[in-house]
């Protein structure tokens, strides 16, 4: 500890250089931590669904093709099934196109049985079951658009659903699958479309998680060779298949983060080399008055590590703050962005990256400086 003051004084020898180095490391670690945190979205969603007793059934032909509504009683009669909830992804627009958020039509009777983990507001589900035009809105959406329970809103349909729906907010959702979304009643959507009887997915709830594979097997067999064969999967697999489309992007993000860190590591190495080169004479003087080379090496590396750690704190702090902002304004960037957080593992990775930048950037020039002959450095030959 008695050398701490010495290390700090040397750090501020060239304030501008130190500040610029800290900032460059901060920017790189900010990018690194933010990019590396992206896959946590997938992990977060999948972890939440890992022990789920929910099953998602869609057509084998893909999301663009519907399933017949008539499957509902057949699915409900399957052993170990406690609830079936069909859904349609309405995809309506609230005000402007930029105000879009996921909005899904579901059958109301079992919504609380199917998703008891969503954190519905008190009385919301009861109202949802009573009122045909009711909707339940995620708290993120309520906050963003300054909505209130009891307020009426209109969603403009597009694509497969060229109809508008007028909805009354009857309750909120605290912990839904995304920070921003809305559910309304499918019977209302069916009615204003002229009852086409189409369903995008059937959500099925099993009485226990061990029964999930059996139900999947039974349902897929039951609808095999029909005009709408089903592809039933556990919730984890279903969400994984959706998120899997982003895997390449996540991998690229990690690689990009790593490239940025390596690049800035080289910049930091250059700054450390310059700083040490300027102080070769002082290093020789310290050695001549009794400082061992390994001690000087440690002091030089400590300076560099402190610089990198300062950058790490700044960078991680900025990334943390930015992701917080994202979670507040997640609708602008997509419904899932708000789920991205910097997990402890990424913080640890970023910390390690900072320490490595500090160590590696200074080790070579510092080692070279402390190994030079004192006489050569001081030019003490006469």
């Amino acid at each position: 500890m008695k050398f701490a003051g010495f290390v700090l004084k040397n750090l501020f020898r060239s304030k501008r250089r130190t500040i610029l180095t800290v900032l460059s490391i901060a920017v790189s670690l900010f990018i690194f931590s933010a990019l590396v945190s992206l896959p946590t979205l997938a992990n977060h969603v999948l972890a939440d669904s890992a022990s789920s007793v929910r099953i998602a059934c869609r057509t084998k032909m893909g999301q663009a093709y519907p399933l017949p509504e008539a499957y509902k009683p057949k699915i409900a009669s399957t052993p170990h099934v406690v609830a079936v909830t069909p859904d349609n992804f309405f995809g309506g627009i609230y005000h402007e196109v930029s105000d879009q958020f996921p909005n899904i039509a579901v059958d109301p009777e079992n919504v609380d049985v199917m998703w008891p983990d969503w954190g519905f507001s008190v009385g919301g589900v009861e109202e949802f079951k009573k009122l045909r035009t009711a909707c339940l809105v995620a708290e993120g959406t309520m906050k963003r658009f300054h909505l209130n329970v009891g307020q009426q809103i209109q969603l403009r349909g597009a694509g497969y659903y060229p109809v508008n729906v007028s909805l009354t907010i009857v309750g909120t959702i605290a912990r839904g699958p995304a920070p921003s979304f809305l559910v309304f009643r499918r019977d209302y959507l069916e009615e204003i479309q002229g009852r086409p009887g189409r369903v995008d997915n059937f959500w099925v709830r099993a009485d226990n998680s061990k029964a999930v594979p059996q139900i999947i097997e039974t349902l897929n067999s039951r609808f095999a060779n029909s005009s709408a064969e089903t592809q039933c999967d556990s919730e984890a697999v279903f969400l994984g298949s959706v998120i899997g489309r982003f895997r390449t992007f996540f991998t690229l993000a990690r690689i990009l983060g790593l490239i940025v860190v390596i690049t800035i590591g080289l910049v930091a190495a250059n700054a450390a080399a310059m700083s040490i080169r300027e102080r070769r004479n002082e290093i020789a003087v310290m050695r001549s008055i009794g400082f061992r080379s390994p001690l000087i090496l440690r002091l030089l590396i400590a300076e560099s590590v402190v610089t990198a750690l300062a950058g790490c704190i700044l960078g991680c702090g900025a990334a943390f703050a930015l992701l917080k902002v994202f979670s507040v304004t997640s609708d602008v960037l997509g419904p899932f962005v708000g789920a991205i957080q910097i997990p402890p593992a990424v913080l640890l990775e970023t910390l390690l990256a900072a320490i490595l930048i500090g160590l590696l950037s200074s080790y070579v020039p510092a080692r070279s400086a402390v190994r030079r002959k004192i006489v050569d450095t001081l030019r003490m030959v006469d």
Partner: protein, 236 residues
Amino acid sequence: MVRKDAVHLDHVTRTYRRDDFEVRALDDVTLHISEHSFVAIMGPSGSGKTTMLNLITGIDHPTSGSVSVGDEEITGKNENDLADWRARHIGLVFQFYNLIPVLTAFENVELPLLLTDLGKAERKTHVEAALEAVGLVERMKHYPRQLSGGQEQRVAIARAIAADPTIVVADEPTGDLDARSAEDILTLLAELNQRFKKTIVMVTHDSRAERFVDTIFRMDKGIFVRAENSLVGGRQ
């Protein structure tokens, strides 16, 4: 009373390679410096006097022969042992002061004490005593850039004596100073030698030094020419 040797060079030779040439900086030099003495090593440029100083302080190694300081032969020591040994036994004063610019006078003087087991309060006592000895207590919070050349050299001397070394070694301590400051530094070194019985070995071109030292070792072309007792005016 016979005084012990503070420094003993025994048939020391130091050669360097410069491109294809071998430079013989010191050629079979044998030398004794008594403890508590104040000696000057003088000679023209390239005579080997700084090389001799480097060998005495262990920052260079002889090609052949042995160097002893106090009771210890330092010739066979490795770099880390030599660093530890220097911390205990050698106080170095350089021509260009070589203070650390980001440290105050106090912190510069404290630097060698950080290598000891002394606590903060004890270090403070030592530093203040050293700065008192060189007459710069009131400047202890000043940075080197805020001091004159003479004052910087005084701080460097305080740093050299702070850890109470066996010998103080000075390489051209007046080489970068004006006449008055040079005189002050020589006076200070002589005082340290007399008051604190420090053995001081000084390399210098400065003929004024002859008035302050006990013995002058003359060197030329890597050879120890002769030792002289100070003749010009004696000790001041």
